[in-house]
Amino acid sequence: MSRIKNVIIKITGYRLFLPLLCLAIVLLVNIIKTPSFFEITIKNGVFYGYIVDIINRSSELVILSIGMTLVVAASGGTDISVGAVSAVSGAVAIFILGGGQTSTDFYHAPYLLGVLAAIGVGALLGAWNGFLVAKMRIQPMVATLILYTAGRGIAQLITKGQILYLRVDHFKQLGGFIPGIPLPTPVFVAILCILVTMLLLKKTALGLYVQTVGINSRAARLVGLNSTMIKFLTYTFCGLCSGIAGMIITSRVYSIDANNAGLNIELDAILAVALGGNSLGGGKFSLLGSVIGAVTIQALTTTLYAMKVSADQLYVYKAIVVILIVALQSSELKRMLRNLRGRSQVTQTGKEVA
């Protein structure tokens, strides 16, 4: 018995247990509900199917959740401006490449310039957030609230309030398919982002620094770390990720709608981090957990779509999942349950005495 118990404890104690369990549950529901869920077909030389769709659609979320993971780990707060920053990046890219025209079918500037500008703007906005959080010591959510409010306004300023189209096939490739490759491009971009970040964490001390600052910033200072700089870097990095995500989002629809690009994606990104088994209070983190979390959320979304839930209604389910997960992480709830059990024992013994 105790051996089985030990095994169970070991399995549930595994860091990626929660995210994998959630993913498994979502997939299991699909096996029962929509057996066609797992079919993959090939049309016009590219793969189609729900699974491919999930992995494809989750790409920008995966990228955002990478940045969000580091922000959460280092500062114990979340960046709620990632959606708005993505919109600004997308607007910048299309504005530069499309020469500011409402609809155009050729590049007005080199593609690379557009991409670099988009990512650069993302990083710049991230740096602003980082400055407020790390240097001005403003609570992360309050600090990022500013860009959450202003971001879409800035994006509209760039697009002059219109939806800008860039009908260039090459531009669509980032969010679609590169000819001759059967898998959607965003998947490769996401994998590249994961690999680069992993490499960064493996080959430099960044991961160790971020965790140290997140767990105990006073001790971090005494062992010679510059907490301000590290927090600043994570926010800048998160902005950079938002820029990349913004590129994919705009490329998918070869247009930028400042009001709706990346709308509400910040909740998904935060949810991905929490689902990944990471504490929203900061400290130790698992990048892979967040990635699995992001895929899980997309799987949930796709599943609910398949079950004919409308896009707007989806948020009811997501909100409930968020609250459930944070409530489960809450030490107060554990204490409350313990007390409840303890109290019932006390009243029992009390009765005996009486």
């Binding site: 959450y148 509209q156 309030g161 909100a319 944070v326």
Partner: protein, 339 residues
């Protein structure tokens, strides 16, 4: 022993900036848009008419911010309220009064749930209300994804009842005497504001709200029940949110999913511009009224100017918000040094 006061109260300083800002902006408007009658009383009254809901929402927000919390779900709650009202009256054929009562009850339950999660489970208010934001917006869509217009007779009567001033009239182009007017919604909003001014200033509950935001640990030591205070604050805020939604619907007379998007930011900005400290403990409902008026003035500017687009409102508000947040942070860090 006589002790001198070291410096000017920082909260008075913040409020003073806001008052100055409003006066300067309004005077500037009167000068710049002289030809368009910016100085007319009705233009000023319109600030209240178009922002009655915001006044109520900002009142609730200020109270929440005083405890050191935040509520970013209020925009969605307003959308949900409008939709629920429209759905109950138009689809279910209910009367306006029971519909209003139900909506307020929903607000109470909603607020209690948020409050319990924040006060008793100690989850960050931001996370809870972020989930609340999505939940309420999603529920709006669950009720109906299509827009529902409100045609209920009593409701429209409430919405369109103009209350004229007995003075200050002016001839319009057709030679008819037009007096300045208000809607009942404005009176309700201002009444709420005054009520909460009194509650915050003159009741034990009100003072414990400030105590909790000032220093939770100390408040506990002085015998304030922190959790119950917070629960009450979020519950009241829930009711105020739906009440603001009701006032909002009097202006729009419709329910649709996209309604009042970004409204929470306007409420937060109004509170912060009105001198509420996001770290808690400081705030004033009249200050938040000033915040609302400043936001309204920016919008009026943009309307009068004619060529500027609506997103300038967002950007200007964000700039003001950034300015005040940074100012607060600077003031706070200075205080630490003095202590």
């Amino acid at each position: 022993m006589n002790f001198r006061i070291k410096k000017m109260d920082s909260k008075q300083f913040l409020l003073l900036i806001t008052i100055g800002l409003f006066i300067v902006m309004y005077l500037a408007g009167m000068v710049v848009f002289q030809d368009k009658n910016f100085g007319k009383l009705q233009v000023f009254l319109n600030l209240f008419i178009s922002n009655a809901g915001l006044i109520v929402a900002a009142t609730g927000m200020t109270m929440v911010i005083i405890t050191g919390g935040i509520d970013i779900s209020v925009g969605s709650v307003i959308a949900m309220t409008c939709m629920l009202l429209a759905w109950m009256m138009e689809i279910k054929g209910m009367g306006a009064v029971p519909a209003l009562a139900i909506v307020l009850a929903v607000g109470l339950v909603y607020g209690l749930v948020q409050g319990w999660l924040i006060a008793y489970l100690k989850i960050q208010p931001f996370i809870v209300t972020l989930a609340g934001l999505f939940f309420a917006r999603g529920m709006t869509a669950v009720i109906s994804t299509d827009m529902i217009s409100i045609k209920n007779g009593l409701f429209l009567k409430w919405a369109n009842a103009k209350i004229y001033f007995p003075f200050g009239g002016a001839m319009n182009r057709k030679g008819v005497m037009v007096y300045p007017y208000l809607y009942p919604s404005v009176l309700l909003a201002l009444l709420t504001l005054v009520l909460f001014f009194v509650v915050l200033k003159y009741t034990k509950f009100g003072r414990s709200v400030y105590a909790v935001g000032g220093n939770e640990q100390s408040a506990l030591m002085m015998g304030v029940n922190i959790r119950r205070t917070k629960l009450k604050v979020y519950a009241i805020n829930g009711v105020l949110g739906t009440f603001a939604g009701f006032l909002f619907s009097l202006n729009t007379c419709a329910g649709f999913v996209e309604q009042a998007k970004g409204f929470e930011m306007e409420a937060i900005a109004s509170s912060v511009i009105g001198g509420a400290l996001l770290t808690g403990g400081v705030g004033n409902v009249f200050g938040s009224l000033l915040g609302v008026l400043i936001k309204g003035t920016i919008e009026t500017f943009i309307t009068f100017q004619g060529t500027l687009s609506s997103w300038w409102t967002k950007i200007t508000i964000a700039v003001l918000l950034a300015f005040f947040i940074i100012l607060q942070s600077v003031l706070a860090s200075r205080k630490v040094k003095v202590g």
